[in-house]
């Protein structure tokens, strides 16, 4: 009995560490193999303070969490600008340095570590045997579970998932990706320090081998086994990893030394098999045992929805130019150009230039976007049209020049800041969050969510929930606006290309930004849908928003654009109505390559 209680404690404590890693690895997608080292910081602090200064276990734990938080945040600053393979390497190196430092100082016991820690004592209650530990470790596990669940399954967690799926697109809808990453790294390091402190107190020792690299791998394996971004899975994973040892020993009657080897072989191979057969882990993301019991199996996606489907927007859109003759069309265009000339300028660039080495990507650009109008940017491939979007939205910093939105300078601002100021762009290659549902994709883009603020999320009472409901309603509206309300619960990765284009439009719209930069909104989609997309863009203009499109299809430009800029080799070489531009033989040659 005592033995099984011991295993139970171990499961709970390993799960605590695993949960904190899952928030980082599963939700935020940051691969860290240094998690046990952050646990070591907590464990060594508790041990050192208890042995040398008779500190109480709780005080030591708090100090350890603080140290782990500070060091974790410092490591995160450079780490999170790196790609995954460099992140693995950096966390590996950090893990080695932390353990190396512990091993080197004789005050910390050198390679023997700190041994003979006193029994942990919580408010006068000394924990002497595995039975005493059950309640505290259960409480610790539940606390960390609740914390990670609160963060992970909220607006905050949605941003983390956005960071995991596509940091660039997450920035483009106004989220401070860097702050989220660093904050999460710091917080999960502190939680690892917490778990490590408990582990050290439970083992009554803190040694380099207990918290070594192989323990980091064990924790990593627990998360992978259980399922990334599934917290219940992590608890299950901890149970499997811990219980493998006694099961093997009892089931196949192996002696202790062989059993531990066989256990490691089994678990190494299990990782390989798992990655092959079930890379999402035992319990996949979003799977809840409770929901499965109460609500039964979810309905499978209907295939016909993905194939023979046409968008039916929830708003009535009218086609102002439909059925007009060529002459009438030209007249209408003139009228629109006049409206453009009279509308107030909302975004203005002057002298914006950018060189990449010897290539001039943008040369002295002067562009104006005017309120409630659609401006088009046309030009041959490689003219630098998408670069203009990158320059305007802060993804590329111009070498010189200025971009002003309502008179406020944008040059030097981060993309997320620009987006929050009301200038949002879409991507030519869509950039959806594939593992998030369509609704979540759109919800991510909604601005001013209380649930994204950690303070309000944890201590704000019902504000976060109310904000979440509002966000959901808003996102449903925008999903309905592009006619995709019925797709709300379908993962974005399952959509056809045309549908994902619509969804990305809906995501841009949900930011409710004043100025929208749409990169080829109608390219690559079914011709019968093109008109739908154009109707939607026009409906956006009706709402008084300002739109700029990059587009190759002159039919699209002709129908939408109130004003057109023609771009060649990084320079604006002409502007006016599309009619005027396409009647110029020189431009036609530049565009089509024929005279």
């Amino acid at each position: 009995m005592e033995l099984w209680l011991n295993y139970l404690d171990q499961i709970l404590l390993y799960a605590t560490l695993g949960l904190s890693l899952n928030l980082l690895l599963g939700y935020a997608g940051q691969v860290s193999v240094a998690h046990a080292a952050f646990g070591a910081i907590g464990g060594y602090t508790v041990g050192y303070m208890a042995l040398n200064y008779n500190w109480n276990f709780l005080a030591g734990t708090l100090l350890g969490m603080l140290f782990a938080f500070v060091i974790g945040t410092l490591v995160a600053l450079p780490a999170l600008k790196l790609s995954t393979e460099y992140l693995i390497l950096l966390t590996l190196a950090v893990s080695s340095v932390i353990i190396g430092i512990f091993t080197t100082f004789s005050e910390l016991g050198g390679s023997y570590g700190l041994i003979g820690l006193p029994n942990a004592n919580i408010f006068g209650w000394s924990m002497e045997n595995p039975r005493d530990w059950v309640i505290p470790s259960l409480v610790a596990m539940l606390l960390v579970y609740a914390f990670c669940h609160r963060l992970g399954e909220s607006a905050f967690g949605r941003v983390l998932k956005g960071v995991r799926e596509d940091p660039l697109a997450t920035q483009a809808v106004g989220k401070n990706v860097f702050a989220y990453k660093v904050g999460t790294f710091g917080m999960t390091s502190a939680l690892a320090g917490f778990a490590g402190a408990l582990l050290a107190a439970w083992f009554q020792l803190a040694t380099p081998s207990v918290f070594g690299f192989s323990f980091s791998l064990t924790v990593f394996a627990i998360v992978i086994f259980g399922g990334m971004a599934n917290l219940t899975g992590t608890v299950l994973g901890a149970a499997v990893v811990v219980l493998l040892d006694p099961l093997l020993r009892r089931a196949i009657h192996l002696e202790a030394s062989t059993a531990s080897l066989v256990q490691l072989i089994v678990y190494g191979l299990a990782l390989v098999v798992l990655m092959r057969l079930r890379p999402q882990g035992a319990l996949p993301e979003g799977f809840s045992i409770w929901r499965r019991i109460t609500k039964g199996k979810p309905k499978p996606i209907r295939i016909e929805m993905l194939d023979d489907w046409e968008p039916t927007s929830s708003v009535a859109v009218h086609q102002p130019g439909a059925g007009l003759s060529d002459e009438a069309e030209a007249v209408r265009e003139k009228a629109r150009e006049r409206i453009w000339q009279e509308a107030p300028v909302i975004l203005e660039t002057s002298g914006v230039s950018k060189r990449f080495g010897g290539i001039v990507a943008a040369d002295d650009l002067a562009i104006q976007l005017r309120k409630g109008t659609i401006t088009a940017l046309v030009g041959p491939n490689g003219a630098g049209k998408t670069t203009v979007f990158n320059l305007l939205t802060g993804f590329i910093r111009p070498d010189s020049g200025s971009v002003r939105l309502n008179g406020v300078e944008l040059v030097g601002q981060n993309p997320e800041k620009v987006a929050r100021m009301g200038l949002v762009r879409s991507f030519q290659d869509v950039r959806l969050m594939h593992r998030l549902t369509c609704l979540q994709n759109v919800m991510l883009a909604v601005q001013h969510q209380s649930g994204e603020n950690l303070g309000k999320l944890l201590f704000g009472g019902r504000a976060a929930r109310r904000s979440e409901e509002e966000t959901r309603a808003k996102a449903m509206d925008w999903l309905g606006f592009v006619g995709m309300a019925e797709f709300a619960d379908i993962p974005a990765g399952a959509l056809s290309y045309g549908q994902s284009k619509l969804l990305s439009l809906s995501r841009v719209l949900a930011t409710e930004a004043d100025v929208l930069l749409l990169d080829e909104p109608a390219s690559g989609i079914d011709t019968k849908w093109v008109d739908t997309v154009l109707d939607l863009v026009e409906a956006v203009r009706e709402q008084g928003r300002t739109v700029c499109i990059v587009e190759h299809n002159l039919h699209v430009v002709g129908r939408l654009a109130d004003h057109t800029y023609f771009m060649e080799l990084g320079r604006i070489t002409a502007q006016g109505t599309i009619d005027e531009l396409s009647n110029s033989p020189r431009l036609a040659e530049a565009y089509f390559g024929t005279a």
Partner: protein, 309 residues
């Protein structure tokens, strides 16, 4: 103070030690960089193929009575085949399955293989340190420094292998195919290069490099099931410091520099600190890299899908 510690004899000996050690790091680094650079697989089980080579050589020599040199060659060959099998049986299907998350899936599977492999070695050969010996050890003293014959052979074989790889990459059709695959496997496929085969070849070459390094290490020191971990961490460090898409010669030289840093740091730091010193250098380098590329290029790099299926 500084000069007092820096006596010429010590520095000479440290330089020689660093050079020989660096040949090993460089060889491992070149092998790992080739694998990671071309295939994009974070091949953690490299530690296992390294260890396995010397254990197989041991197996051929002692229980099976094959003469020393042929069994060393066989050990390297067998472990290289294991490396190829890992790519063919484990990584390739995984990459096909996992799509954009292939990097993480392969890293996890590779960790699993490394753990399973190490413990399989423990189960079969035992956990204790073994001595692996063959030819007699001969010590030389040149210019007041001492080193042994294994050092020289190791350096010579490492240099020959790295130069051979560089020559293959530079001048042969195979080398051009490898480089084409490294730049863009999909495009390479379109122009008729069998990227799958190139991956297998790359795993073979990389594993041979590891095996050769392991044999010399085993001869000079001893053999144990966990011996692969540290050298392979150094291989990662060297490969990343040099850049995984760079020439093997550059990687090799980086390996020597890392080893020299490690050796020289023992002048000022206690011996136990030297390994930590190398990782501190790595952390600083990665920090520098992060700051340097914190602009658009880093964002693009991160945002790009793994792409290397």
């Amino acid at each position: 103070m500084l000069l007092a510690v820096l006596d010429v004899e010590t520095v000479k000996q440290l330089t020689v030690d660093g050079f020989f050690r660096g040949c090993s790091y460089g060889l491992l680094g070149a092998g790992f960089a080739l694998i990671l650079g071309v295939t994009g697989r974070f091949h953690f089980a490299y530690a296992f193929t390294y260890t396995f080579a010397v254990y197989m050589a041991y197996q051929f020599t002692f229980p099976w009575g094959v003469p020393f040199w042929p069994s060393a060659a066989l050990g390297v060959l067998v472990s290289a085949c294991v490396g190829v099998l890992i790519e063919r049986i484990v990584y390739r299907p995984l990459a096909a399955n996992a799509g954009p998350n292939a990097l993480l899936a392969i890293f996890v599977a590779s960790l699993g293989l490394g753990i399973a492999g190490e413990n399989a070695i423990r189960l079969y050969w035992g956990s204790e340190t073994q001595s692996y010996y063959g030819p007699d050890k001969v010590a030389y003293t040149v210019w007041g420094t001492t080193f042994i014959n294994f050092d020289v052979w190791q350096a010579a074989s490492a240099i020959v292998l790295v130069l051979a790889l560089a020559a293959i990459l530079r001048w042969t059709a195979l080398g051009r195919q490898i480089k084409a695959t490294r730049v863009n496997p999909d495009l390479a496929r379109i122009i008729g290069i069998n990227a799958g085969t190139i991956y297998l070849i790359v795993f073979f070459i990389g594993s041979v490099f590891a095996g050769v390094a392991a044999i010399w290490y085993g001869l000079k020191y001893t053999v144990d099931p966990a011996m692969g971990f540290n050298p392979v961490i150094y291989a990662f460090v060297v490969a990343f410091l040099a850049g995984t898409a760079r020439s093997p010669i550059r990687v090799f030289i980086t390996g020597i520099i890392v080893a020299l840093i490690e050796q020289y740091s023992s002048i000022w730091l206690s011996a136990r600190w030297t390994q930590t010193a190398v990782f501190v250098v790595l952390v600083l380098y990665l920090t520098f890299l992060a700051v340097k590329t914190s602009g658009f290029t880093a964002r693009i790099r991160r945002a790009l899908p793994a792409g290397k299926a």
